[in-house]
């Protein structure tokens, strides 16, 4: 039940298991086996069991996992039951898309601030509830609203300074879409999503397939 040395990959799969369980639950199913989950997600049953076993025995031998219980345990582990005060920095096309992205707002990530450095955007409505604020008001916003997670949707060249600022005022986690390597202290939880790297990886895959034919 010690979670210290659990790999990031296991955690990500846990989030995916959760989504899978939600789906099965909607279909009215009450119980699943590791084999069924694996089938659904393209994973080996043993991988599923191993991942789940890190957090304790959720299943019943001979039966499988009770979906409601397992989903609620996972949501607890991943902090989905808690509301995470989140902000978005950079309100270009991507920032706007993230503000409305399903699976951010509704998975416990409560977006309480949207910031941009462009004075023309500042003051305009980000959505029904939020206005775009100046990046200069980030420190105060973090302090007053208790923002814990920052989502970076700025150009690459602004990302590091924004991240430094967020961390300086107390943000503990960063999800960055900026195509640049961020440098942050050990204690900060970071996830970098690199869209153009993903494209390149797919392109390479096609080249390899064409050359080696599988």
């Amino acid at each position: 039940m010690y979670t210290s040395r659990i790999s990031k990959q296991t955690i990500k799969r846990l989030a995916i298991y959760y989504r899978c369980l939600e789906k099965l639950h909607k279909e009215g199913i009450r119980t699943v086996s590791s084999h069924q989950i694996g089938e659904e997600l393209g994973l080996k049953a043993s991988q599923v069991r191993k991942d789940l076993s890190y957090f304790g025995g959720f299943g019943k031998r001979g039966v499988g996992y009770e979906i409601r219980t397992l989903a609620s345990r996972i949501s607890k582990i991943l902090g989905m039951t808690r509301s995470w005060k989140t902000c978005i920095v950079g309100f270009g096309n991507l920032g706007r898309a993230l503000l409305h992205f399903p699976g951010i707002r509704d998975k416990g990530f409560n977006i309480v601030g949207v910031f941009d450095k462009d004075k023309k955007k500042v003051g305009s409505a980000a959505d029904d509830l939020l206005r775009v604020e100046d990046v200069a008001s980030i420190p105060m916003a973090i302090r007053e609203r208790g923002i814990e997670i920052g989502v970076i949707a700025t150009p690459a060249e602004d990302a590091q300074s924004v991240v430094d600022l967020l961390i300086k005022y107390g943000v503990k986690g960063i999800v960055s879409f900026a195509p640049t390597k961020l440098s942050v202290p050990e204690r900060i939880s970071v996830e970098e999503i690199d869209i153009s790297v993903a494209l390149s990886s797919v392109a390479f895959g096609i080249i390899r397939m064409e050359r080696d034919g599988d």
Copy 2:
């Protein structure tokens, strides 16, 4: 120099090395060591050398890597010198953001089609050059324009059927932002970008840090 068994992680780092080299090149630097690249990107020098060695000896012992040469070799390996006919399916906020995302268009990914199933969007201008087309015209578009890569920005529930359609008509690579596991044949190159999983992973990291204190 055989590229068959090279891991996806190595390929992704290669794309990141390329970006790093571009940056150093702009700064007027001509030569780097694996140690400098590693420093810049938070990687061990030996990792950098190992990755590069899979594709042959690019470096000079005692000197390092000539930036221009290495960058051009990497861009060749990753297919950046080739133009990839790409389409975006799903023109909501995310699809719109991807259409304008720097590092898609300018890294050899030429977006030649934007599709949506919403009749209200179909026919409207996606950008200066493209109109939104109906998903029903995907087959013809793939055939006529030789589309090779599809970017999925639809809701989760539509993603699998769109992917099936794209593959059926000849698309060879998929980058999906839909929060669902896709099932595709072996020969198809796929990259799934899961935004809400990234958020959950960051949230878990914060919880772990608070509990275990590093």
